[in-house]
Symmetry: C2
Subunit: 416 residues, 2 copies
């Protein structure tokens, strides 16, 4: 029996409705912030992702050659495609440009809880503005989206990539060793960072100072421990967030987000209930456009891990409403079968979602089906009632029945 | 400069909103018919599509090996994945099962007008019922969806694959030659069908009779030219369609839909304005589940070519509403900047979609941006008005301005 490929999923109706419900909330919140949706292809030239993340990304990509010999890859994320699309199509538009996107991403890795080979991201970018207001706007949008989903237990941490970079520079780390060390510090893996720093000629006491910086987490008071533009900048972001009514995030000077292209503010949101795979959102300010052949344009954005946030919501017992059909129409005999189809047509034209027996079933079986699909009402079309242009309307929850004129049927169903 | 791969597209905000608008109409109409959404992965085992369409499909597939050596392919259509998912996940559910799906499909072919390498399909299937009612329900759903999009000029043709199959059998065509000949007849390429038929030992006069059958198009009266179960069956479908209030489709005995797995009724919808690529929807009844390791289950379904139908709507001058932001908030000076963010927060919490100046722009530039993003109102936050907890509200269309209390601002904007 053929199965769906490893690490991918089929979403069945109940689950899919739940996903569309939450997707709708994210979309609506993004719109409320003035973001507008774009969509890019499922695959891109592999080079695009190598430019963003370095050649190591190839190990995680679904990469392939098309029949024309082009190196393509299923997208592992959507920031690079969004910025490529900006460079190609939107570079002459008035800035800043606010876009969001939602869709499948692909990563070839061992499937595990909360990690799939086909997964879904919801992301947003403000392209062409480099101000504390921009960063605050992006953080506020991310937090409001998560809040709009009604997730209760999550934690926001913001930092500035300049803090640790400066710390490493003054400890004597050369530029080329920086990315690898930053990645270790980002994960608070100081034991693994130390040999790299030692090899770069850093003294132990300077390394300790950097580790202390990377481990500094707290409220706004933390900012007094660092000086210069980074602390001023983060302070401004906090004041704009506060003005917008957003709860103060934690300051975490160790957040660096592993990727080289970030330029300033970085932030992460985690849902502690998810354990090891607890990060549900990450973002920051960056420049990428110049790598893809455009001018250098500052942007700030974030991506929400849609599958993980749904997992976190599930763990909190959150439930999404399911849309069940309003009515299920059944003919009592072959004689009234055509009339049953006439009635289902009338119901649908009047905005009632209605299903109908397609297999000339006996009444008991048809009622069982109506119940199994969760229909609110059954409409029973019998000869006797048709003489007065009526049908029997059965409330599937209470079991109550009454005779209703066909003309009144749509409103009778919609009003209950 | 890196571009999107050949045959793929970026959808920018205006176009994307238009697409979501029409997608929403299709989804809503499907729900009104009692269909529920499912989603399957972007790629499947390549074998799935070979089983459905034969090995020739490989020439058109984006096929690749994953790092585990598995042969995968980007889906070229979604009926096979839907039925695979049914066999894997839904075979014990009460039948019939009504599902729909929407998403990207991929075909490696020369890009041309209305044909893309990444394209979008909207499809629906009723799984587990083999009755004229089922077929009528599917045809009605397809027609209602196209009608709900408000496409004016389209033509529906229905046929029965049994008619030409029987004709070919009585002309002496053996089973193994059948599919290739049917494909030619489907495209009305009689000149190309003849050599194949001749090679199969068919006499010219019998071939002529088959060609005549394949060319028979008209109203219900056409059914009197054929006898047996096919004509009875189509007649029943027509009566159920008529009961549902659906305009009578054309009968076309030559519709066979190229693929071997169809078992009975077949139908197509075309938009003549599209010229050579005019088919916007196709479907019919079939069995596939037994190929994928399940029991033999009769199904009826269809797929709408979303890109083509949008092209047809565009040619008819149809337009979709664009959702522009309700308000754009501007501080007259740095002093009122935090207050401006407080106000944008209030607006958004009250359901107003609002954007805000992120770059401390001068008033004239900010107004220009408000206008370029199509905002309905500008909210101007100045020191003088703030003394009375007010702001200036400017109607961007009329240019009229008035001073409004901040407390009244959300309702003032929403009521206009």
């Amino acid at each position: 029996m053929i199965q769906s490929p490893r690490g991918t999923r089929d979403f069945l109706p109940d689950e899919m409705e739940r996903r569309r419900f939450y997707e709708g909330i994210l979309r609506q919140t993004a719109r409320r912030y003035g973001f507008r949706e774009i969509q890019t292809p499922i695959f891109e030239e592999a080079e695009l992702f190598i430019m963003r993340s370095g050649p190591n990304i190839l190990n995680e990509l679904y990469a392939f050659k098309d029949k024309g010999g082009r190196d393509l890859a299923l997208r592992p994320e959507m920031t690079a495609p969004a910025i490529r699309s900006f460079v190609n199509n939107m570079s002459n538009e008035p800035r800043p440009i606010k876009v969001f996107y939602f869709g499948q991403c692909f990563r070839y890795e061992r499937p595990q809880s909360g990690r799939y080979r086909e997964f879904f991201q919801f992301g947003a970018e403000i392209i062409g503005a480099a101000t504390p207001q921009t960063d605050a706007e992006v953080i506020a949008a991310a937090i409001d989206m998560i809040g709009a989903l009604d997730l209760k237990d999550y934690k926001v941490r913001i930092g500035h990539i300049g803090v640790l970079r400066k710390g490493l520079v003054s400890a004597g780390v050369p530029a080329e060793s920086m990315p690898e060390i930053l990645q270790k510090l980002d994960k608070k893996l100081y034991e693994e960072a130390w040999p790299l720093m030692e090899a770069a000629g850093v003294e132990r006491k300077d390394a300790e100072a950097v580790f202390e910086l990377a481990g500094t987490v707290g409220g706004e008071e933390v900012l007094s421990m660092i000086s210069g533009e980074e602390s001023d900048y983060l302070r401004q972001i906090l004041s704009y967030l506060s003005a917008m009514g957003i709860d103060a995030p934690e300051i975490d000077l160790g957040v660096v987000r592993g990727l080289d292209y970030y330029t300033g503010m970085v932030f992460e949101v985690e849902a502690p209930a998810l354990g090891a795979e607890k990060q549900i959102c990450g973002g920051g300010s960056y420049t990428l456009s110049e790598l893809f052949g455009g001018d250098k344009v500052f942007s700030t954005g974030f991506a929400i891990g849609f599958d993980r946030i749904l997992l976190a919501l599930e763990k909190e017992g959150a439930s999404a409403p399911l849309e069940k059909p309003d009515a299920y129409v059944v003919a009592v005999s072959n004689e009234t079968s055509l009339k049953a189809f006439e009635i289902v047509g009338i119901l649908r034209r009047n905005g009632v979602s209605a299903d109908i027996d397609l297999a000339d079933r006996k009444m008991a079986k048809a009622m069982k089906h109506a119940s199994s699909i969760g229909s609110r009402f059954a409409v029973i079309v019998g000869n006797e009632e048709l003489k007065t242009d009526s049908v029997t309307l059965r409330d599937m929850t209470s079991g109550e029945q009454k005779v209703v004129k066909i003309d009144d049927l749509p409103s009778e169903i919609k009003d209950h």
